[in-house]
């Protein structure tokens, strides 16, 4: 049984029939007909399976597997959208999925890294963020700042911090936040979130699909 999380920029797979199942990633632009899976989730997923589960459900199931507490907020920051689930007393309390105002967040952060040739591991946390609502609208703030003499790296860092704070507010401004998605590997983004952050990595949705597969097998 193969599980697939088909994201906008990257797709993640887990083959449960292998001796030691280990997730692997490919850029979504390389997806082909050979990538059909048993259960899929993600923006691109419906094209590659007969069994599709929506991302919020899968995120929640993944959170249930990975987080031992019965009250938590789990935020997934993807390439094109952000979504969160909030559990209280072991059950769903709130959720949100923002594909409009949170649009192209992860995608833009990666794009800027390449364009300005930056390493997010080396960028210091800026003193203050840009007030931005989404990747698309935030781009103009960067260009304005660069034109007015702010170094590229500082402008991008302020943008990333603004995006991180925006995502944190979207998740309800919790005191502790579990983070899912590729931005877990971006230290500037993680440090910019103004609360305790516990990165869970980019395979939370695969974990959720695993739980769904296991439940269906019972």
């Amino acid at each position: 049984m193969i599980l697939g999380d088909f994201g906008t920029s990257y797709s993640k797979f887990l083959d449960l029939s292998s001796a030691r199942p280990k997730p692997h990633i490919i850029p979504s632009k390389e997806l082909g007909t050979e990538h059909r899976v048993t259960i899929a989730t993600g923006h691109n997923g419906k094209r590659f399976t007969d069994w599709y589960v929506n991302e919020l459900t899968v995120l929640a199931r993944g959170g249930e597997q990975l987080i031992a507490e019965d009250a938590f907020v789990l935020l997934d920051c993807g390439s094109r959208d952000i979504k969160f689930i909030h559990y209280l007393n072991g059950r769903l309390n709130d959720m949100g999925w923002n594909s409009e105002c949170g649009a192209s967040m992860g995608f833009t952060i990666e794009l800027l890294q390449r364009y300005y040739d930056l390493d997010y591991h080396e960028l210091p946390l800026p003193v203050r963020p840009f007030s931005v609502t989404c990747g698309v609208l935030g781009m103009s703030r960067i260009f304005d700042a660069v034109v007015s003499g702010t170094p590229d790296s500082e402008a991008v860092a302020r943008f990333v911090m603004g995006i991180a704070i925006n995502a944190y507010r979207f998740a309800g401004s919790p005191t502790k936040l579990y983070l899912s998605g590729g931005l877990c590997d971006n230290p500037l983004f993680v440090k910019s979130i103004p609360c305790e952050v516990i990165p869970l990595g980019r395979f939370v949705l695969l974990k959720g699909l695993e739980a769904i597969a296991s439940q269906a097998g019972k």
Binding site: L56, A60, R91, M95, S99
Partner: protein
């Protein structure tokens, strides 16, 4: 009454509907999508960022041949309808007749509480605004497993996601009861069942929907514009599934 085709917006008072029915005048419910045309056609008259129901009213009015429009502007509709009435007056040479519906005689809400596809329930309730007859054989009530609070959405496709045992609350229930300004009835919800509190984006009712969703022990606030996107539908699906509602 020398009309053949009349449009209604909101729920005009029962006496007016009775009068229109008595004269066999065809009633067009302008709140519902009747025309397959680009919503952009309404932008010369209304802002793009505006209630999709009222934009639909203008779109329908642009395409239908109407002899008059009755538009309710009382507490059973909204302030925006009052302003849209002014816009319609300047757009068309037909009478735009504003009404204030303060009917208080309840017709009952059997459809809202029945076992039936949610989409079907909404179709029956919205169709009901054109007549004044009490249903002769109301469907029996069922035990609810989920709730939908709010107005009829512009995009009915979200209703397909709910189980047949979903009870309807909010303004839609007031609509079925033919008491659209019954604020007490509008505030009613069942705290024992997972409930989606829905409002059209940019509608004043978003405040109430969100407020009640926060008060409800297991509520989800949701709004959508002209069409419900994938994320709105996914939220409903996930909410019902994770709440243990059998679909």
């Amino acid at each position: 009454m020398n009309y053949n085709n009349v449009g209604i917006v909101g729920i005009p008072p029962l006496a007016i509907i009775q009068e229109l029915n008595r004269h066999n005048i065809t009633i067009h419910d302008l709140d519902t999508p009747m025309i397959k045309a680009d919503m952009e056609l309404t932008t010369p008259y209304l802002p793009r960022v505006y209630c999709a129901i009222l934009r639909t009213v203008v779109l329908n009015a642009l395409h239908l041949t109407l002899d008059a429009i009755y538009i309710d502007v009382g507490p059973g509709k909204c302030d925006c309808a009052l302003h849209v009435a002014t816009v319609l007056e300047d757009m068309f040479a037909i009478p735009i007749l504003t009404t204030i519906n303060d009917d208080i005689t309840g017709f009952g809400t059997p459809i809202s509480q029945s076992r039936m596809g949610l989409l079907q329930k909404f179709e029956r309730i919205t169709e009901g605004v054109k007549n004044t007859i009490m249903p002769s054989e109301p469907p029996p009530a069922c035990t609810p497993t989920a709730g939908f609070w709010g107005v009829p959405p512009r995009d009915f496709s979200i209703l397909d996601l709910f189980p047949d045992t979903t009870h309807i609350y909010g303004w839609t229930r007031c609509m079925e009861n033919k008491t659209p300004a019954d604020h007490e009835l509008e505030l009613d919800y069942n705290p024992d069942i997972p409930t989606v509190f829905y409002a059209q984006s940019f509608c004043a009712k978003t405040a109430l929907a969100r407020h009640l969703a926060l008060k409800h022990p297991h509520g989800l606030y949701l709004d959508s514009d002209v069409t419900a996107g994938g994320s709105a539908k996914a939220k409903i699906q996930a909410f019902l599934e994770l709440s243990g509602v059998k679909l």
